[in-house]
Amino acid sequence: MNRLRLWLLAVGGAGLAVLLVAACLDLPDFGGDRHPYGDRAVHASLLRHTANTVASVNFDQRAYDTLGEMSILFAAVLGCVVLLRQARDEHRAPPEPAEVARPVRRYALLVLPVALVTGLYVIAHGQLSPGGGFQGGVVAATALHLLYLGADYGALERVRPLGLYETTDALAVSAYLVLGLAPVLAGTAFLANTLLPYGTFDTLSSGGTVPLLNAAIGMEVASAAVVLLAHFLDQAVEIEEEHGS
């Protein structure tokens, strides 16, 4: 059975490898000069005064795709919450407080605000320099978990009202939808970047609705990551099965 499976894998893998190599040899050369879509995207982004072209593609030219990505994110988090909830045959045992070496504790408490500010900076400057809601949100969520590393899970739980993050997650998703529907009410297309003035190139308020959509995504990703990690931490640290029942 296992031998058969390995043979099947070898044959299938070899076939796929041949096809992939043939396709690679037929692709346009790496580093070629012809990028028609890219050139047009850069042009459109500059017309709308967005310095970071990637943010412009994400939150303006292809904002509808980002809506799809965001719903996958939301659905995945929802699935995790359902799968990792506390079942009836489980109970919570508060973990013993951990002893952490003092330098590590100091480092964690010192870096936590720095990381949080960096996360917010990456979100806020998304339309100017490299960064944006997706990256900054993850950084901000990771920053919060320095409390777990520097102290213990109890300390993290005290500053993390989970319900608030779940609400924020949902609110951010609806904010994105409302921002998308607003242009429809104004008579243009869904998620069209026509409502706000484009502003001065390379300033925080440039790009029309790009900074707002960016901030909504940042909020969504940050609270989604916090909720995800909270449920994994609950499972790994607190929740235990009933024994001998």
């Binding site: 296992n2 499976r5 390995l6 894998l9 893998g13 796929l16 490898a17 992939l20 190599v21 396709a23 690679c24 692709l27 346009p28 050369d29 790496f30 580093g31 070629g32 000069d33 879509y37 890219g38 995207a41 850069v42 982004s45 500059l46 310095a51 970071n52 072209t53 990637v54 412009s56 593609v57 994400n58 292809r62 795709d65 980002t66 990505e69 996958i72 994110l73 995945a76 988090v77 995790c80 799968l83 990792l84 079942a87 400057h125 100017l128 320099s129 490299p130 944006g132 997706f134 990256q135 949100g137 190139f201 390379d202 990703v221 989604a224 990551a225 995800l228 449920h231 994994f232 499972q235």
Partner: protein
């Protein structure tokens, strides 16, 4: 050099598939799937690269002063990475659920359990 990045992407994908098929631990399999995912990132970015180009971010250079690489594939990859991480989390949650219901994370033992 002309095809090396594409070949590396294909290699990453095949290696990940091999790991997935021969894995004896579901958590390990999820890690292998992450390797497969990285193949798509490498392929997409390799398609968008331009020799001598720089990032299409104009906060520190003047627009038009230097050739830039393709921003469209970068935008695709960037969202893919974060969404990929949450999908990994969803799969890990499924693995934990399997461990709870069946008491094992070995796919072969799981098949025997089902009979």
């Amino acid at each position: 050099m002309h095809v090396l990045p594409y070949l590396v992407a294909a290699y990453l994908f095949l290696t990940g598939c091999y790991g997935l098929a021969t894995s004896r631990n579901l958590i390990h399999a999820v890690g292998c799937l992450a390797v497969c995912q990285s193949a798509t990132y490498v392929l997409l970015l390799a398609v968008g690269y331009r020799d001598g180009g720089t990032a299409p971010v104009f906060s520190d250079i003047r627009p038009g002063s230097r050739p830039v690489v393709d921003p469209v594939v970068q935008a695709l990859t960037l969202t893919d990475i974060v969404v990929g991480a949450t999908v990994t989390a969803l799969l890990l949650a499924l693995v934990l659920q399997i461990a709870k219901r069946h008491g094992t994370v070995d796919p072969d033992e799981l098949r025997e359990l089902r009979g």
